[in-house]
């Protein structure tokens, strides 16, 4: 048990930070963070998958020449479904890039000295943060034009790109909050001492504040990316062919009920294998960058 350092010997509650800091201390002692990868969870998932396949094999008719076994069927579809999954990842990367650039601008507007800019950016941020992702996606899919004119040249706007924009909007709002939080988390003394050294406001922001807040913004940014990756399946609802759509098409093509659970589990496993390491890394970074008060 760590000694209490809450300033009073009659603390009603431990400061939450203490509870979070403890694993960091443990990790330092051991040399690395414990459980960087949990084989138990992955094992359980694979066991579940095997169980589903076995149950489906037992449930359905025995494999014959005409009806291939469950695993064989999954194997047959896997390359196509995986290409759909890769498309999801592509959309996630594009949306993240677009949302981050826009969010950085919006977040900096949120810490502007001009109050109309600050207030306006705040309202925009709150609005896009509180609107459901799916509704924003619908909004962009239906209301963006089919093509846009840039400097007299008409550029077609394909559906998948509209979806990228639709997903980038909530990302932008969340990045904006992350940036604002990161900038605000830097002690005011940093601003003052930089001012004393005759830095201009822009210089302070870019050369003093942002480099320091970058490491504080990284964990929530990665967390947001994991959330976005999972949200990319939404594009299947608005009619874009992604991993989810392909799974459904494959199931319709095969017309076999016993395939349903294994095939959806396969897609779930892919997403898990992609997102879980990101989540672990985020947690590890959070601990490393934890503010030592």
């Amino acid at each position: 048990m760590m000694p209490l350092r809450s300033g009073t010997d009659m603390a009603v509650l431990l400061p939450a930070g203490g509870a979070l800091a403890r694993p960091v201390v443990d990790a330092r002692a051991v040399g690395f963070t414990e459980r960087t990868f949990s084989p138990a969870v992955l094992g359980a998932l694979l066991a579940l998958f095997a169980l589903a396949v076995a149950a489906a094999e037992a449930h359905g008719q025995p494999a014959s020449a005409a009806r291939a076994g469950i695993l064989a069927t999954l194997w047959k579809w896997a390359p196509l479904l995986f290409s759909g999954f890769l498309f999801n990842l592509l959309v996630s990367v594009l949306s993240m890039a677009l949302g981050t650039v826009a969010g950085l601008a919006l977040g900096l507007a949120q810490v502007s000295l001009l109050w109309p800019v600050r207030k306006g950016a705040g309202i925009v941020t709150q609005f896009f943060r509180n609107a459901p992702w799916l509704v924003l996606l619908f909004y962009c899919m239906f209301l963006l034009p089919f093509d846009v004119a840039v400097f007299g040249i008409t550029v077609p706007l394909p559906a998948w790109f509209k979806a990228v924009i639709g997903l980038a909007l909530p990302v932008m709002a969340n990045v904006s909050e992350i940036v604002r939080g990161g900038v605000r988390s830097i002690p005011i003394a940093q601003w003052e001492s930089a001012e004393a050294l005759a830095f201009s406001r822009r210089q302070i922001l870019w050369m003093v504040i942002l480099p320091q807040s970058l490491k504080r913004m990284l964990p929530p940014w990665m967390n947001l990316y994991a959330i976005l990756t999972m949200a990319t399946t939404l594009i299947s609802i608005v009619g874009i062919q992604d991993g989810m759509t392909l799974v459904r098409s494959a199931l319709i093509a095969e017309q076999r009920t016993e395939l349903f659970i294994p095939m959806y589990l396969m897609l779930l496993t892919w997403f898990f294998l992609y997102c879980y390491p990101i989540a672990r890394l985020t947690m590890a970074l959070e601990r490393r960058f934890a503010v030592r008060a």
């Binding site: 009603v12 509650l13 400061p15 979070l20 799916l134 909004y139 609802i237 459904r248």
Partner: protein
């Protein structure tokens, strides 16, 4: 305004059958081509309100169920048995790191297809309907986050407080219910707020399995009346208002439950 006279005449004509409010939106649709059909057409309004009610019902049921899952899960995570802790951990990681839409599809299309059907009014219906599966999927999804949130709150309760409770003869369950949880709940509230806001936004996914919630109702209306732009804006504003309402209520609650002298 295209022509004030035209609008005035339209209003005068429409006033006979409709209230002033309805007449205004009817004329707005007829003359300005801004068609908020839900504000003057009783059929569309009925559909939209049913959708709103379904969204609210779905949100509230999932909210309560996910908090219950969070409380029970956090208690199980403090268990002496490593296996119990492992299972809870596996549940959390699985639901946190896979897309909620695929989870929903997995429950509805895959698990739902395997479950037996029961007779209801002469025909065979699935034992759990689309609304039921949406409740199950979203509750487990939000519950996985709630377990982590409550666990962080429980960790912030000093060991000495629990020991004091044990010294007074509380069992593990009673100490959890009467002492640890009330304290932990207060610490967890801000994070819980965030998650519940997310839950409300997640209920839109029920659209994918044809639960007649607000997005579904709106889509029905705009595909018939062809007023996508107007319905989209109504939808956005309504969701932002719903979330705003939740944030306001939870904020009030948070302040009311505050322990004087301790602020996180």
């Amino acid at each position: 305004m295209a022509d004030p006279d035209l609008f005035g005449r339209c209003m005068a004509d429409a006033r006979g059958a409709l209230s002033a409010f309805e007449a205004y939106f009817k004329c707005l649709a007829d003359i300005e081509r801004i068609n908020f059909s839900i504000f003057y057409d009783s059929l569309d309004r009925g559909r939209f309100l049913v959708g709103l009610w379904t969204t609210v019902k779905l949100s509230v049921i999932c909210l309560v169920a996910s908090v219950a899952i969070g409380v029970v899960g956090a208690w199980l995570q403090g268990s002496r048995f490593a296996l119990t802790r492992r299972i809870v951990q596996g549940y959390i990681q699985f639901f946190r790191n896979t897309p909620p839409l695929v989870q929903l599809a997995f429950f509805y299309f895959a698990v739902g297809a395997v479950l037996p059907r029961v007779p209801d009014g002469g025909q065979m219906v699935p034992i759990v309907g689309s609304f039921g599966w949406a409740v199950i999927a979203f509750s487990f999804f939000a519950g996985a986050f709630n377990v982590e949130i409550f666990r962080a709150g429980i960790q912030a309760v000093p060991r000495a407080t629990v020991e004091a409770a044990e010294a007074l003869g509380y069992s593990r369950l009673r100490a959890y219910g009467h002492i640890v949880l009330p304290l932990a709940f207060r610490i967890s509230l801000p994070a819980l707020n965030n998650n519940l806001v997310n839950l409300i936004k997640t209920t839109t996914l029920a659209y994918a399995i044809a639960v007649p919630e607000m997005l579904y109702a709106a889509a029905q209306i705009w595909s018939e009346v062809l007023n996508v732009r107007e319905m989209m804006n109504v939808l956005l504003v309504t969701y932002v208002a719903l979330v705003g309402l939740l944030v306001w209520v939870m904020g009030r609650w948070e302040r009311a439950m505050r322990i004087p002298g301790y602020s996180a």
